[in-house]
Each structure stands twice: as C-alpha cells, then as structure tokens.
Amino acid sequence: MFPEFMNELFEEVEGKKNKQDVSIFTLSSCMWCKKCKAYLKEKNVKYKYIDVDNITVDQKSKILEYLRENYKPDRIAYPFLVCDDKFVVGYDPNKYEELIKSEEK
C-alpha cells in the first residue's frame, strides 16, 4: 500500500481488529495524536504509525509529498489517519468510528 521507504519507518501496534489497514502519521509531542493512538488501542485496532517529527528531513519531505499527492487533503494536520483508501485529518473519533464500524459488517 505504501512505498517501501515508508514501510520501513512504521511502528506496528497489535490489535484484534486487523482486517483493515490502519496507519497514522503523528507527532510524538502532539496531544491529539496521543488521543488517536489511545482511541485505536481502546478499540483494539491493529495499526501502524510514524512519528513525523522524529524522522529525517529527507523522510519528512517524501512522506508529506506522498500524502499530498495520494490523498489530496485540503491540508496536512496531525494525526493523519489512513484506513484502506480513506483518510481523516485531525483527531475525529466520530469519523474513526465510521471507519471501524465498516469492518464489523
């Protein structure tokens, strides 16, 4: 799904809900990103994440360009959650719930 260089940067978090591919781009210092990770953990969703503030400028540049080109968001804010082909910008548990529900059908 993601380019190889990104796959190498992801940290994986295990969860029982693992049918969907959930990835988040986060900041290690961000309270909203911590809430997003806590939400996914509480819902037992398997996910992977990259703390974008803790990678090299080269990696930041490539990841931000990738997100812009592939998802065409109005803007990039954190957490940036990607669930299969859908994405959510910013902490939004209602939207996360919609995506997670779709797995249970």
Binding site: S28, S29, M31, V52, S61, Y78
Partner: protein
C-alpha cells in the same frame, strides 16, 4: 525560567495564561503531555514550538507557532481554547461542558506549504 525543564515550562505557561486572562487545561494527563511536548520541542528546536503542529526547525518559518502561537488569542476567544487545548477561556468548563474541544486549524495554508518547500529544498541539497 529554564524552558528546557518541565518545571520551567509550567511556570512559563502559567505566566502566559495569567497575562491573557486564560486558564490552563485542567486534565492533568493532557496538561502534562502538552508540557512534555513543549519541553521536547524546546530541546529539539531551541524554541517552544506548538506540540500539535509540525515544526520546520527553521525559526523564521516556525515563528507563528511559538507558544503561545499567533492563533491562540482568536482561537480561545472564538472556540474557547487554543489549537492544542493548553490555554482555555476562563469559563471553558462551565460553557463547553467537555474536557476538550477540537479547534480547526487557523494557520494559513501558505505557511504549511512554505514548510514543505523548505523540507524539499533541504532534501534536494
């Protein structure tokens, strides 16, 4: 006031909130996370860049994000809290009746694009 330390950063944000007649987030976990983020950013960049936004590391590009960010006064006034929810309106908890509020990003998109252009420029060197 040593902003490299958690205690120093707490004193700093207390001063900022008093000066602006704001209050600080009362959820101790959230508050401590935000203070940790500010300290982490101060140690990393040399200034207390907003912990909820990606800093470029170039002060000139991040100036508007130095806490309290340029957008905090209007966000507190209009939404009841700054983007991070560190600073809140005095009556936040009485009027909002929630622990937090998601505040839409007010930072101009051009500034976000300038950061990306800076990363790309660094990358091409």
């Amino acid at each position: 006031m040593d902003l490299k330390t958690k205690e120093g950063m707490k004193k700093y944000v207390e001063q900022v909130s008093k000066k602006n007649n704001w209050i600080l987030n009362m959820d101790s976990n959230t508050f401590n996370d935000l203070i940790d983020g500010l300290v982490e950013n101060f140690q990393k960049y040399g200034y207390q860049s907003c912990p909820c936004r990606l800093a470029s590391g170039k002060r000139e590009l991040d100036r508007d994000l130095i806490c309290p960010c340029d957008y905090a006064p209007l966000d507190v006034k209009e939404h009841g809290a700054c983007y991070c929810n560190l600073y809140m309106r005095e009556n936040f908890y009485e009027t909002i009746k929630k622990d937090y509020i998601v505040v839409p990003e007010r930072r101009p998109i051009e500034k976000e694009k300038a950061v990306l252009a800076y990363f790309n420029e660094q990358n091409s060197r």
